[in-house]
């Protein structure tokens, strides 16, 4: 039977199509894109070799630095916010709502599957200040704080993107972390309670340490996803005002398709890939640890 399961023709037939498509459309372009970093130009005008100029420019360009800073800030802040909010929701599901949490879980998860563009257009309207007042500003005015022109400055626009992404993803992290929380053995909680731990103290001393592994995985998944943020920013602020909310992904896109600089665009893409690579190495380590635990 080893013979049958090792049938080379069958392996080629089953694996072949996937491997060919994957190689041609992903592996070859990755290598090709590496090659582009030594050239400048585009498909229409042709390419000319520029040596290491693109990397020198990558190091010197203030716009790259701004985009890198935005990307890092965005990934860190959003990761903290969405994992913390997700964890609080998961605690709510497990310890407060319990059996009744099913409907809430399903409802809060729904925005996860919504198209990003649709959500971005919705949030533009929610946070609108002129020509008409959106619900958020109307609420702020009602409590006497006064409306804010959210999209007029990079710092407020940043928080609108964070709010939108949190709204979109908190249900996802809640379910991910919920799965970790229900795995905590009932006996552990019961014995802690007999020792007098309850409420916040039970969470801090028993639940939190026991859910650290799944929290860590969530953090890594989240960083890996948020570093690649593109749709949300493009649809919500298009990088503006100015370039104040432009992540690396969007800057790469503008460099390549607005200015036709494929070489420099590829260099930015390489920088982004290296960032993701570092994070993915962590993913591997954490997922392997999970496998040995299970």
């Amino acid at each position: 039977m080893r013979h049958v399961l090792g049938d080379r023709r069958a392996i080629a037939l089953l694996l072949g199509p996937a491997l060919v498509v994957y190689t041609l459309v992903m592996l070859v372009p990755v290598v090709w894109s590496l090659g582009y970093t030594f050239f400048e130009g585009n498909t229409i005008t042709g390419f000319e070799p520029v040596g290491l100029d693109n990397f020198a420019r990558l190091a010197a360009d203030p716009a790259v630095r701004e985009a890198l800073w935005f990307t890092a800030r965005f990934a860190v802040v959003l990761t903290i916010v969405q994992v913390v909010v997700g964890y609080l929701l998961a605690l709510l599901y497990v310890f407060v709502l319990r059996r009744a949490s099913g409907v809430v879980r399903t409802l809060v998860f729904f925005p996860v599957v919504l198209p990003t563009v649709a959500v971005a257009l919705l949030f533009q309207q929610l946070f609108e200040s002129a020509p008409r007042t959106g619900p958020v500003n109307a609420l702020l005015e009602a409590v006497g704080i006064g409306g804010v022109d959210w999209f007029a400055s990079g710092s407020t626009a940043f928080w609108v993107i964070i709010a939108m992404e949190t709204w979109r993803s908190m249900g996802f992290y809640a379910v991910l972390l919920y799965a970790g929380l229900v795995d905590i053995p009932e006996e552990t909680l019961e014995s802690a309670r007999l020792d007098g731990a309850s409420g916040p103290r039970l969470v801090r001393h028993i639940v939190l340490p026991l859910s650290l592994p799944v929290l860590l995985s969530s953090v890594i998944f989240s960083i890996n996803g948020t570093l690649k943020v593109f749709d949300s920013v493009l649809a919500l602020t298009n990088g503006g005002p100015g370039s104040q909310t432009t992540p690396l992904t969007l800057y790469m896109y503008q460099t390549s398709f607005t200015y036709g600089e494929y070489g420099f665009g590829s260099s930015i893409a390489l920088l982004l890939t290296m960032l993701c690579l570092v994070v993915t190495l962590f993913i591997f380590r954490s997922s392997r640890r999970d496998l040995t635990k299970a």
């Binding site: 039977m1 049958v4 399961l5 090792g6 049938d7 069958a10 392996i11 037939l13 089953l14 694996l15 199509p17 491997l19 498509v21 994957y22 459309v25 992903m26 990755v30 894109s33 582009y36 498909t43 709510l92 497990v94 310890f95 407060v96 709502l97 059996r99 009744a100 409907v103 809430v104 409802l107 809060v108 998860f109 729904f110 599957v113 919504l114 198209p115 990003t116 257009l121 919705l122 949030f123 309207q125 929610l126 008409r132 007042t133 619900p135 229900v182 309670r193 989240s222 996803g225 690649k228 493009l234 649809a235 896109y253 494929y262 665009g265 930015i268 893409a269 982004l272 993701c276 993915t280």
Partner: protein, 305 residues
């Protein structure tokens, strides 16, 4: 685990089972305060999640003067005013965009599942040298950002003459979906006891027959889950669609929606709301029936980030 929790975390909502009347009788004031507090908290969560969507649907029924003159929380003056939807579909070309999305998504979804399931089987059930390395090679693709392959693909499709059709989308979606599909299918095949396949080979089945008659039925549910996950990823994609649709007639629904702003300007609210609504209703329809499976699948595919 629910019923054994202690009284400080007492049942909260009206829907919670009244399993602990003694606790309530012992400390009624505290228990009542708690259930009010947790009820309010749950209500707040639900309002934050649901209200924006309700507000969106209400907005899609309003006319332009209503948008500009009435307060933002006001209800629409007419509940049967579907003019905005008509405008969105006819003037906004939403029908064309939706058709393009379907034409691009369905073939690539079918191909990515077909290739991915076969590859997952070959990598997990078959025995050969180098399969661990090949699986790693596929896994690496999960991490690669779309920006890394965009420019060479643009050149390739341009040289081959595929630019100006939906083929670039179909091909790219198929390839981009493969890493996660292969990874998830390999995981599912790993969960099937090897004896089943070995017994099938003893019965004299050849490998392809075994794949079709034994392997596929065993992971039928898993295939459906993976397909659902991939559907959302492809349907909601913006980056690939934006890059390879160079004409208005080729735009997918996401790219079309993105350009709604430009088309109507920021002030034409009604049709924009209606267009967003239509896009939301599409996923809502799927989610209504398959929410548990969607939740399970998407969290299982969370490596994609």
């Amino acid at each position: 685990m629910s019923s054994t929790l202690s009284q400080p975390l007492a049942p909260a909502t009206a829907a919670a089972p009244r399993s602990r009347p003694p606790a309530r009788r012992r400390r009624p004031a505290r228990a009542v305060w708690r259930s009010v507090w947790t009820g309010a908290l749950t209500a707040l969560v639900l309002v934050v999640v649901v209200y924006p969507l309700v507000w969106l649907v209400l907005g899609s029924l309003k006319t332009q003067p209503e948008f500009l003159n009435n307060p933002t929380f006001a209800l629409p003056e007419s509940w049967t005013n579907l003019d905005n939807y008509v405008t969105a579909v006819t003037d906004g070309n939403l029908g064309t965009y939706a058709r393009n999305s379907v034409i691009a998504v369905l073939p690539s979804l079918a191909l990515t599942i077909l290739f991915g399931v076969a590859a997952g089987f070959a990598l997990e059930v078959m025995v050969w040298k180098g399969r661990a390395t090949t699986l790693l090679l596929f896994l690496a693709g999960i991490m690669v950002p779309g920006q890394m392959i965009l420019l060479p693909l643009f050149t390739m499709y341009f040289e081959v003459g595929l630019t100006g059709s939906l083929w670039p989308l179909i091909i790219t979606y198929t390839a981009i979906g493969l890493p996660l599909t292969v990874f998830m299918m390999a995981t599912f095949f790993r969960g099937v006891p090897r004896e089943i396949f070995e017994a099938a080979t003893l019965d004299g089945a050849n490998v392809l027959r075994m794949f079709l008659a034994v392997g596929l039925p065993l992971v039928r549910n898993a295939i459906f889950t993976v397909a659902l996950v991939q559907f959302f990823f492809i349907w909601n994609d913006l980056l690939i669609a934006l890059t390879f649709t160079n004409r208005d007639e080729l735009r997918t629904i996401q790219v079309g929606l993105l350009n709604f702003r430009g088309q109507f300007g920021q002030v034409d609210y009604g049709p924009t709301f209606a267009a967003v609504c239509l896009n939301v209703f599409g996923t809502l329809a799927i989610y209504l029936f398959l929410n548990q499976r969607v939740m399970k699948g998407l969290t299982a595919g969370s490596v994609k980030g």
